[in-house]
Subunit: 354 residues, 2 copies
């Protein structure tokens, strides 16, 4: 990971503002800038220095992980006094992450000095991934993909959604996943028409579609994939809806390349579904960036004006949700390359029936 | 769940302040006050009304879950304009949760009106649990406890910590857990001396102690338990350290009753370990409240002055961590009753060896 480059870019941003430092309180941003993966730490970046403030629990871990920053750990007591002392040494305005600092902490840290509320400074740097980051996402995506057929081999009609999620999560953890990147969705039959159907105690029955949407964390980076399968032989309508969603997904992927507006990628999927008479059943956006977090820029949404850039890594995940009938969603992770797109998810996309 | 009582108490608090309403942005607090368990929603409580603002995804769920509040869902667009319009109708100061409102959102919502930053209003109500809440925690604790022997039956020397965590989490999910209440800790041998040892790829070897600390979510309430087991026959030192930690844990539980200061409960555990010559190896606090969140008031820590009250539910979890050698921690969930304490965790505490 290229920490020196990241800090250099952040300092360029700092110089264009009227602030003398940035206080980084969002943990994924802290990790991005210095490698620290602990659950408590703030980073203070000045034009000359980068200081990670954390506590005794992370002495060993920070020594191993942190790059390009000095680690400050109080011998006793909390981190706050040391941080305030360091801030007091800086003359001028200190910028802070407005979206990631509570009013309570602002009152404590900026009681006696001016702060500058800024948004997305580090997130914007994170948007274009370094090759090493794409490789980390690819590893997470592959781990998650490999577990899929192993879990599906255990799926039987009558199994609860939560029971299947348990099996899937077991395969993921047993393959070395550090954790899940979000709550696993397993939504069968009518439940599949709920876009965010957390795995419930509902039994998965014969004749139902099952939407399975899940992801892992590996070395801090996330995966995200959705497959929809059918229990028993699918009927004509099921096959037709599935085919339309798959065509929409492939059309959106085909539209991905640097310079294309995110809204055009979204429209590519949406147009296919509209032509199939299913437009009204696709009510969410087509995708989002992934990286250290599960939802990052850019948003692949209707009318989104931002242009794709090489190095971005996004999901492409159109879906159709018909109330009372069920849902179909197909999702891959796609890297934007200089020449177009590379689909990182290796799992096949034909309609699987068990 | 007694939502009318909760709202009544919150409104009493409101009357004692100079605010005309409280904006509740912390999701566990939203859930506590109206039952809504979705991942996006804010609650506005005035002396007469309680309004939940959420979005289209939660139309059905909010209709099922919400009690004692009107649900406001925009037909199109975001929640923000509706919330601002409702806030604009209130004359006077609106209180907000300073610890759970970002500066960015404060700038948006309180750009043109005065806000009052308050802390812990709802958290304080949540501290003493209703009988139905204690019952919910008990169900979560029992589910987690039942899974423990089933997972341990699969533990073999050479298995990775993460592999064992995968098995344990599988048993939890397959028993119906909605999720984990925190990242499972499995820390073996030298790794066990790290208090927060996330399950790693380290193999669990013969002759090692294994600290296993985990919890589930069930109906929104959490469990939290730790057991330490030994791979192979434990030697004299291992048995002695284990016995000291167990005695410390039992002494702390024996000290629990209404009116006792939290610091005294902590001291009860600490004194046993000090007498055993292990005081220096017990560097964290003895416990914490649990409920809708994994860390709630009260803190069972050295010098904590707060007095225990019937209805509180806390963990008791002393430990000993000897660098290079390993760790032992034993943790139960304990309900403070009118007459003393009830241990909710049924799992035995003698030193298990496999």
């Amino acid at each position: 990971m290229n920490y020196p480059r990241r800090l250099r870019q952040l300092r360029q941003r700092l110089r264009r503002s009227n602030a003398v430092a940035l206080l980084v309180t969002h943990l994924p941003n802290v990790r991005y800038l210095c490698g620290f993966s602990g659950s408590a730490g703030v980073l203070l970046v000045t034009p000359e220095r980068s200081l990670l403030f954390t506590d005794n629990r992370y002495r060993e871990q920070s020594a191993q992980e942190v790059r390009e920053a000095e680690v400050v750990i109080p011998e006793t007591g909390g981190v706050r006094p040391l941080l305030l002392a360091e801030m007091a040494r800086l003359k001028g305005v200190i910028a802070f992450e407005a979206e990631h600092l509570s009013v309570a902490l602002q009152e404590e840290l900026f009681a006696r000095r001016r702060g500058l509320a800024v948004r997305g400074w580090v997130e914007r740097l994170r948007e274009r991934k370094e090759p090493e980051e794409v490789a980390a996402i690819r590893r997470a995506v592959r781990l998650a993909s490999r577990a899929f057929p192993r879990a599906v081999a255990h799926l039987r009609p009558g199994m609860s959604e939560r029971g299947f999620a348990a099996r899937l999560e077991y395969e993921l953890r047993a393959s070395g996943a550090e954790g899940l990147s979000f709550e696993t969705i397993v939504a069968s039959g009518w439940h599949g028409a709920h876009v965010h159907g957390r795995a419930s105690q509902k039994a998965i029955e014969k004749g139902e579609l099952v939407v399975i949407d899940y992801g892992v964390l590996l070395s801090g980076y996330v995966s995200d994939m959705t497959r929809t399968l059918h229990v028993g032989t699918p009927d004509r309508r099921t096959r037709a809806v599935y085919r339309a969603v798959l065509e929409a997904q492939l059309a959106a992927i085909a539209a991905v390349r640097p310079g294309v507006r995110c809204g055009e990628v979204d429209a590519a999927a949406r147009n296919v579904l509209a032509k199939a008479g299913l437009g009204q059943y696709f009510q969410h956006s087509t995708g989002h960036g992934v990286g250290l977090e599960i939802h990052e820029a850019p948003r692949i949404a209707a009318q989104a004006k931002e242009k794709l850039q090489a190095g971005q890594v996004i999901t492409i995940e159109p879906g159709v949700y018909i109330p009372g009938w069920g849902g179909v969603r197909i999702e891959d992770v796609v890297a934007v390359t200089e020449r177009g797109a590379e689909v990182l998810t290796p799992t096949p996309k034909r309609l699987l029936h068990i």
